[in-house]
């Protein structure tokens, strides 16, 4: 397999900054607004999320290319992918509880949330659609994870400060979070054109 490092690097940058899942593709918003209230949970979620994302992207890539494509059942991809993600999350939950209970008590609660995250499903769907090879899929998964982590951490640091701000009553809570996200998204449009893929 010949590796094209420039392409991999571009893929990571593109998926984390230019096509950031939260700000330009609007995925994973439920979790994004749910866990961005505190810095600590945001960091925990980011770590768990990136790890699960890369593992599931890798497993799904193998199953898609070596089982589903030869059997010509790619039209079942939604059902199969969500099954794999749910199974994988359940498995990592059990394994973590047995092997690393300390880590489990810190990060375990985020695992259950992850299975309902659309990004974790969108990455394999996109990489199947774009016909990425194995290494490219991993790079895409890593970039998307970094992008999500970046979004969560930026948002959490703003929302911690926002607790003290005097916001008009109807805007309190989620509406204000949306407006802020809109402003960050506006800033992120500045990255477009950084790399043309």
């Amino acid at each position: 397999m010949n590796l094209d490092f420039t392409k991999l690097f571009e893929l990571i940058i593109a998926s984390s900054l230019i096509n950031n899942f939260v700000f330009t593709r609007f995925l994973g918003l439920c979790i994004f607004f749910g866990v961005s209230k505190k810095m600590e949970t945001a960091v925990g979620m980011s770590i768990t999320f990136t790890a699960v994302m890369m593992i599931s992207a890798a497993v799904i890539w193998f199953i898609f290319n070596y089982v589903m494509v030869p059997l010509d059942i790619t039209f079942l991809k939604i059902i199969v992918f969500i099954g794999i993600v749910a199974g994988l999350v359940q498995a990592s939950d059990t394994i973590m509880r047995k092997m690393a209970p300390g880590l489990y008590y810190k990060l375990g609660i985020y695992l259950a949330l992850i299975s309902t995250n659309c990004i974790i499903l969108a990455v394999p769907l996109i990489s199947a659609g774009e016909k990425y090879n194995f290494i490219e899929t991993l790079a895409f998964g890593l970039g998307s994870g970094i992008g999500f982590a970046l979004a969560l951490i930026i948002m959490a640091s703003i929302r911690e400060k926002l607790e003290l701000a005097d916001v008009p009553a109807p805007f309190r809570g989620l509406p204000m979070a949306f407006v802020i996200t809109g402003l960050i998204a506006l800033a992120f449009t500045g990255f477009s054109g950084l790399i043309t893929l």
Binding site: C118, L125, L174
Partner: protein
Amino acid sequence: MAQHSAINYKELILNGIVKENTIFKLALSLCPAIAVTSGLKNGVLMGFAVLFVQVMVNSTISLMRKFIHPRIRLPIFMLVISGWVTVTDMSMAAAFPDVYKQMGLYIQLIVAFASILARAEMFASKNKIAPSMADGIGMGIGFLFALTVISFFREILGKGALWGFPIINAKPLLIMILPAGGFLAVGILMAFFNWIDAKYLKGRSSHH
């Protein structure tokens, strides 16, 4: 039970549209609310896709509720949902190829909607088929309504057009069709509905 005849269908449907509106009140399934609402046509089609999936999932789960073992209910729900999403996905791809090209990914991601799973778990798995369908229709219409409102404002402000036809002859606000505008529109509309809620419906809404 005699109580079953007392189920108020109008109330059930209204509950999904007003009191528990998926987007403005529960803040669930937000991804498509922003992703596909840069034009009215896409927003309405997405709304109908979700309405269809929600009603079909609710009815299927309600019919199967006696045969599903509680311990494996979540995987079964996911299977039913992804089955109906696949049906919707393929029908949309065949019927509206030009729209599907822009929002195909989001149709496939209906499968990860928290709101659909939540209604299956909280309502359809405990109720008969008719109330479950009414609940699905209410939740679906609530979602359709939210998407229609958001995409109406975004298209008319961002492109000066509705359903692709130009109606305002002025320089449009480009920001409204950019990703950032979607977040701003949802945030402002959410605040608007909160304001109405606080001002006119005080005491009537049990939510919050």
